[in-house]
Chain length 301, copies 2
Amino acid sequence: MFIQILVILILSGCTTLDQPKRFSMSPSEALSKATKDDWRQPANRNLVYFYFDKDPVIFELAPDFAPKHVTNIRKIIDSRFWENLYIVRAQDNYVVQWDDPNDLAKHYWDKKKIKIAKKIDGEFEVPLEKLKNLETLSSNDVYAPSVGFFNGLPVGFSKHENRAWLTHCYGMVGVSRSSERDSGNGESIYVVIGHSPRHLDRNITLVGKVLYGMDKLSTIKRGTKALGFYSNKKDYIPIKEVRFANEIPKKQRINLQVLRTDTPLFKDYIEARKNRKESWFFRPAGQVELCNMDVPVRVVK
Amino acid sequence: MFIQILVILILSGCTTLDQPKRFSMSPSEALSKATKDDWRQPANRNLVYFYFDKDPVIFELAPDFAPKHVTNIRKIIDSRFWENLYIVRAQDNYVVQWDDPNDLAKHYWDKKKIKIAKKIDGEFEVPLEKLKNLETLSSNDVYAPSVGFFNGLPVGFSKHENRAWLTHCYGMVGVSRSSERDSGNGESIYVVIGHSPRHLDRNITLVGKVLYGMDKLSTIKRGTKALGFYSNKKDYIPIKEVRFANEIPKKQRINLQVLRTDTPLFKDYIEARKNRKESWFFRPAGQVELCNMDVPVRVVK
């Protein structure tokens, strides 16, 4: 009897050592438990339909992190300025960028009698205390003291400094600038299309994230000049139309919902990604890196 | 005099506090100091020219990490088997994969009287002590206890376990498998085209890295079925030709050299990437993540 129990104890001990920690659900199982309250609908004035082809790229603006830039970008979109611009750069494993190669901006705003900010000081960080419902990701990070999610967006933060910032993960949308902190105003924009260039965090203003159609940007033919700029003007890709969601005819609207990141379900989803249940994984990682935790987006018919 | 010195001390103290640590050279300045001994020429039998278009994708095999798989892959390439296959999958921000959708393998090897391994146990790790000239990257990592570079390849390792493994960074080449450890043999291959899926490390066999033409793979039209498989066979992209470097006519060869990673110059290059000198960076990261440290490759005319 005693020996039997001992054998069982030893065996179960060995089993515990050999078996990696696994969550009770796979990521898709965790996600399948989401109710309608686990999803949120982005606001119309944050949701931008960006057409350079038949189907749109749709991104969500993040006024919580870059209020001045987002205000300016809304004016720029309302004025149709971007619709005169081109994608001028596609650098492999880095970014695509649209810009104003003919320096249209020089006269555009005066002509149209629209007041926009020509310079905005970089909005690289916000006070951490501003972010209610920040979900902490209890994983290491190479670049930030702490990381997590706010409203579906990847965030780095420092409790010590009371600062938080958006991070350069795949699909993040940022405001191009030259050397000065205030040299970007939203006329020119870049989108991350490769491995996350996190060294840019806290150095340049991020203003949102692509929710739909990333593959349209990621498959753009790369430029051959330095930094992926197109060597020939005829390679420039014209931007056809940029509209807020409420301006899109209802039939063409794509009803996007983003998984809420301030819920128990999202915590389960993180655990499911860290400690994979599926037998395909011989060694679940036990960790998940911030930019590897893409927040699910769904299209509701 | 004393007050002057005090003022100088206070000022220099303040300056030190305000100024981030910056390396004496930018990454490109560090790189410009490389002599011919800082570059290495990959061996012909490790260098694979992969054509599905006019220009090749060129990758380097890594027999140090997956000797059995590399031996099998050499036989597969020599037999021209891959030249009957197709790229059947392109999943955005993840991988492209070529495979054998018509199950040609069933009769191919018998017919050709070629002996290849149908099953190879996963070569997920090697003994750490096997890797001489491993360059340690003194940065945190989310997935591995330690990280570094061996022969230009990104490596995770554990001194405690005496184990080392290749990591799933952008451009890494791996052997597809199904659920079993030994279910891949190199007939089907994937390449990472997005943010590094490091949770795959130590779970699947990596066999090399793309050195040239990554943009050909990264811009492939994405598949619309689950996991990025093409929904229609007519979307499959046929593989035209796969050859080792020495089989390519000399005029068409691209003379690639990879920066050596076991040199003082590479250490400088790492420091230059961590602590950016350029004034564009207001806040140099002080760290660099393993997969953000792409090892330079040059074409020598």
